[in-house]
Amino acid sequence: MNDRDRLPEDLLSGYLDRELSSEQRVAVEQELASSPVWVAVLVEITEVRSQVRALPVPEAPLGFWDVVLSGRDPVRTVRRRLGGPLGWVAGSAAAAVVAVAFLVPSPRHAAPSVATFVDSHASRSSLSQDPITQLAPIGLRR
């Protein structure tokens, strides 16, 4: 058999998948009877085909079909909104805002009224003669 007469090798997949005409089928079987190379290829693709067909059926994420069949579209839009590089920027910015809110002390604690503090201390400890009480006039002057 010269090159021009040679059967295309992809007929082997057609043979395996039962997608050949009866004439093609006979031709492939004749080739298989005389060519160990074709037999080896048939064995290989049979094995690979079985491996792909034996792959487990993947499960969709929990609740996926409820969302999809309800006509809502949150899975994709939320993931796209937050999943890309801009999502990381937005996420980081949000985290920074939260961190600042918790870590930086409130302004009302940062600026105590010295006069009020000294005055109230003086009123509570005027009899104790403690050193802080001696500062009361200074605080009141401010």
Partner: protein
């Protein structure tokens, strides 16, 4: 549909996106659907959505993390380590195929479509479909062997 999407994309997030987009197109296309092979029609929509996404990513590359293989296995098989590894290897080999070969193999061996339906779904002649399936399988075999040698 999810199974085909998962095998085409190789991870659950992209598969979920693909299915959602495909279903949106199914809704839009229902009016123009002509009675014929429903499976072939659905396969054509899934294939087109997948190829659109592939083209979009070529313009703006993003990386997708592959799934933990345990997550896609039934509970009974998850305990079987050898089976888990083999599944992960086969999926990795599948994901390494150029898209036209991957689509042909997945539509044939995962969706179990006839060559004629695959031809209708991809717009390629039946002879081209057969050639892509065959070459895809040979590439898969080579990729699995390479993986086994490296592993």
């Amino acid at each position: 549909m999810y199974q085909v999407a998962y095998r085409l994309t190789g991870n659950s997030d992209d598969a979920a996106d693909l299915v959602q987009e495909a279903l949106l197109r199914v809704r839009k296309g229902l009016e123009t659907y002509q009675p014929g092979s429903l499976e072939g029609w659905l396969a054509r929509i899934v294939t087109n959505v997948f190829l659109d996404e592939v083209r979009r990513r070529r313009r703006r590359p993003v990386s997708a993390l592959p799934d933990d293989p345990d997550r896609v296995l039934p509970a009974t098989a998850a305990a079987d380590e050898a089976s888990t590894e083999l599944s992960a290897d086969v999926q990795a080999a599948l994901s390494s195929l150029p898209e036209e070969f991957r689509i042909a193999v997945v539509l044939c061996d995962v969706a179990d479509l006839a060559y004629e339906d695959i031809a209708a779904a991809t717009g390629a002649p039946v002879g081209t479909v057969r050639s892509r399936i065959h070459r895809g399988r040979r590439m898969l075999r080579a990729a699995l062997q390479q993986g086994a040698v490296r592993g």
